[in-house]
């Protein structure tokens, strides 16, 4: 057992509780007498307190305890005074900030002032300004002894101080220590004498097994001063070194980069994965035997079963990475409340489909863009009063996440005018944009239709950032809007980053992969159907005209786009910024699932390459993201002036 393993889990779980608290606090404000909300909040605060205490995060635990106490007073009173809601919100913000500090391994923010309360009548005995070393705030788990006059200042509710401190201590043995597990047990016994062991690594059970062990780590609550504890431990024979967590923090917060990389997994799913891999082991032996005995029918049968198992295992493993959208929408109700209050607008907020799951990495990256979009909806969309809704649903291999409002809506004509006025487009270019393309103009850096710059959104409001984030994850952003009715910002995101369906094509003699999520359709186009420019080549399909590019040429290869020879052209119709386009390739080779590996420097700098995958024969195959290829500087000059404006 190693506390650092629990660290990630702690943060991911703490954030879930915080999100829940945030939701509940907003609900509480609307219904201050709702007993269930108060109870639920109390439970959340209680959970955070317990978790933080177990991790030795005393400040966070004390603060959570404080909130819990305040809620307990409220529970007795029956209704929450408005002033207390504000205080709870402030305390919650502080707790969230504190958790941020802990996760980033930076000095914790001051909570003493908050704990002392607005009235400052009852302050914390040991929470002076200089509380960094050694930390001695009130301890978690301490029952609020004698909750004094509960009538006085309901916002009060201060935890009392319990004796002792919590240390993370590591004891190392001399390298030649004999019977090291026994020695470690002696150390554990000494720790037990010194105080209460909150956690221990390795566990007593492991030590009792007698495995070699030269290092014991423990979270210890003790009344002993650090120096005294150190002395006691060093008095044990063969102890080489005793360190406390803070000593080692000076080595640098290496772990912080690991933060946010953990995923909580249902044990049921884990069991399935373990069972499957177990079955695979069995089949391996069957395969080995069949191969030894040259039993071809047995070999074939086992191979087929193995293939089925691998597929199943793979499917389950992918699910390990999935988390529900609601894991990142928890903070939005609070955001809406605060923004509404600040701007004097009455905004209601809903999340539909919060249970839709996405890859954890995608969710992490989407959290900020979602905040941006909700913010924008309130700042620029809603006038006076309205509703913002976040909707999520599965659409084949994609998840649609939509942020919609019933506010002013955007006028494509106005957006065109603005873009021209800001010299972002020429008048002719603007004129040629479809309405859909015109709406996407808001994603250009520095573009804003807001007449006034609001405190929250500012100008341009990071729509370019939102768009970039979405596309980096392999998603697309689309905007629908009707003046007077509202706007919808639609994000189509892949479910998972690691495995995607790809279309295999050949191009300039090389096999290449295109993510299937980008592909609308493929077709073989008679050479005669190609409309030769100017401004470039195009073709008609279902009454619409599509620009036709050569993928090889976009990738910087030789211009082989000639249609001489009269042969049919292989064309892939793909999603491109603004509108779909056709990409000419040498041949269409089929589709398959591919495990995406990211590219290292300098290959990751090449525009349009989103990764690589290993082909069946072991060769490396690049994954082309035509969306970026068309958007970046990759478009040949002669296409730039085409009627198909590239945003």
């Amino acid at each position: 057992m190693d506390m650092s393993k629990y660290r990630d889990l702690f943060f991911s779980e703490a954030r879930e509780h915080l999100a829940q608290m945030s939701r509940l606090l907003v609900a509480l404000e609307q219904a201050p007498a709702d007993r269930q909300t108060i109870d639920a909040l109390f439970r959340e605060a209680h959970s955070v307190k317990g978790m933080a205490a177990s991790m030795g995060y005393e400040g966070a635990a004390a603060l959570a305890h404080h909130l819990e106490d305040a809620l307990d007073h409220v529970r007795r009173g029956g209704e929450v005074p408005v002033a207390l809601v504000d205080r709870l919100l402030a305390g919650f913000d502080l707790l969230e900030g504190l958790i941020d500090d802990l996760q980033a391994d930076r000095p914790e923010r001051d909570i003493a002032r908050f704990l002392a309360g607005p009235a400052g009548s009852r302050s914390l005995p040991e929470a002076g300004p200089d509380r960094m070393e050694p930390p001695a705030p009130p301890l978690p788990g301490a029952e609020p002894a004698a909750v004094g006059e509960p009538s006085a200042a309901p916002a009060g509710g201060l935890p009392t101080v319990s004796v002792g401190r919590v240390y993370q201590v590591t004891v190392e043995l001399a390298v030649d220590a004999a019977a090291s597990a026994a020695r470690c047990l002696l150390i554990v016994r000494e720790l037990e004498r010194a105080g209460e062991i909150l956690s221990l690594s390795p566990s007593r059970e492991t030590l009792r097994q007698g495995e070699e062990c030269r290092r014991v780590q423990a979270w210890l609550r003790t009344e002993l001063a650090r120096s005294e504890l150190g002395r006691t431990l060093r008095a044990i024979a063969e102890v080489r070194k005793v360190t406390f967590a803070d000593d080692r923090r000076a080595d640098g917060g290496r772990r912080s980069s690991e933060a946010g990389r953990s995923v909580r997994v249902r044990t049921e799913l884990l069991d399935q994965v373990i069972n499957l891999s177990g079955e695979l082991l069995t089949y391996r032996f069957m395969l080995q035997r069949a191969s030894r005995e040259r039993d071809w029918s047995e070999l074939n049968g086992s191979l087929a079963d193995t293939a089925r198992l691998i597929e199943e295992l793979h499917h389950r493993s992918l699910q390990l990475r999935l988390m529900p959208l609601e894991s990142i929408t928890g903070r939005l109700p609070r955001l809406v409340r605060d923004l509404g209050q600040k701007s004097g607008k009455q905004v209601s907020f809903r999340v539909i489909g919060g249970g839709v799951v996405l890859d954890r990495v995608i969710l992490d990256e989407l959290a900020d863009p979602l905040v941006h979009l909700v913010r924008n909806a309130i700042d620029h969309g809603i006038a006076g009063q309205g509703e913002v809704v976040v909707t999520a649903r599965r659409e084949k291999d994609l998840v649609l996440i939509e942020v919609s409002d019933n506010g002013r809506g955007m006028d494509p004509a106005e957006l065109r005018r603005q873009a021209v006025a800001r010299n972002l487009l020429s008048a002719e270019q603007a004129e040629r944009l479809t309405d859909r393309e015109a709406l996407l103009l808001v994603c250009l850096p520095g573009f804003s239709t807001a007449r006034q710059v609001t405190e929250t959104s500012g100008r341009g409001v990071g729509m370019d950032v939102v768009k970039a984030a979405v596309e980096k994850l392999g998603g697309t952003l689309d905007i629908q809007s009707t003046v007077g009715e509202g706007s919808r910002f639609r994000l189509h995101m892949p479910l998972s980053m690691a495995i995607i369906k790809i279309l295999l094509v050949r191009c300039n003699g090389l096999p290449l992969a295109i993510p299937l999520t980008r592909v609308q359709r493929t077709l073989e186009l008679p050479a005669a159907a190609v409309l030769e420019g100017p401004p470039g080549r195009a073709f008609r399909l279902d009454d619409a005209e599509y620009a036709l590019y050569s993928l090889g040429e976009l990738l910087g290869g030789a211009s082989d786009s000639g249609t001489a020879g009269g042969k049919d052209l292989c064309v892939v119709v793909i999603e491109a910024p603004g509108r779909p386009v056709g990409l000419q390739v040498d041949a269409l080779l089929g589709q398959r699932d591919a495990f995406v590996k990211s590219l290292g420097f300098p290959l990751n700098r090449l525009p349009g390459l989103s990764g690589a995958t290993i082909a069946g024969d072991g060769s490396v195959m690049f994954i082309v993201d035509p969306y970026h290829l068309l958007e970046g500087g990759g478009v040949p000059a002669r296409y730039q002036e085409s009627s198909h404006a590239v945003l």
Binding site: A182, L185, L207, G210, A235
Partner: protein, 122 residues
Amino acid sequence: MSLNVMIVDDALFMRNMLKDICQRAGYAVVAEADSGEAALELYRQHRPDLVTMDIVMPKRSGIEALQEIMAEDPAARVVMISALGQDALVIEAIEAGARDFIIKPFKEERVLDVMRRVTVPR
């Protein structure tokens, strides 16, 4: 500081060796037992400050003797003497209340170091 030590070991050679070490350090060896069986009775009689206890002995093992002594006097300071590779027994002894242990073959300083550490008043 003078200590009263009791040595429990079935091998005379080991008892003598430990006795010499103790005496050179100025400790008094107040009792010697050649089996676990005899250990408890001698402990009762002498109430030594420290017991060295061989872990493997015929008839009654060092661990059994340790348990008996600990039951008699929970404050007893018993140091186990064990051969290499008997970690499981050492662990068992520690769980049963042994204060520390020494692995054979040992050096004089090592024995004295453990004896000192164990008898430091705390």
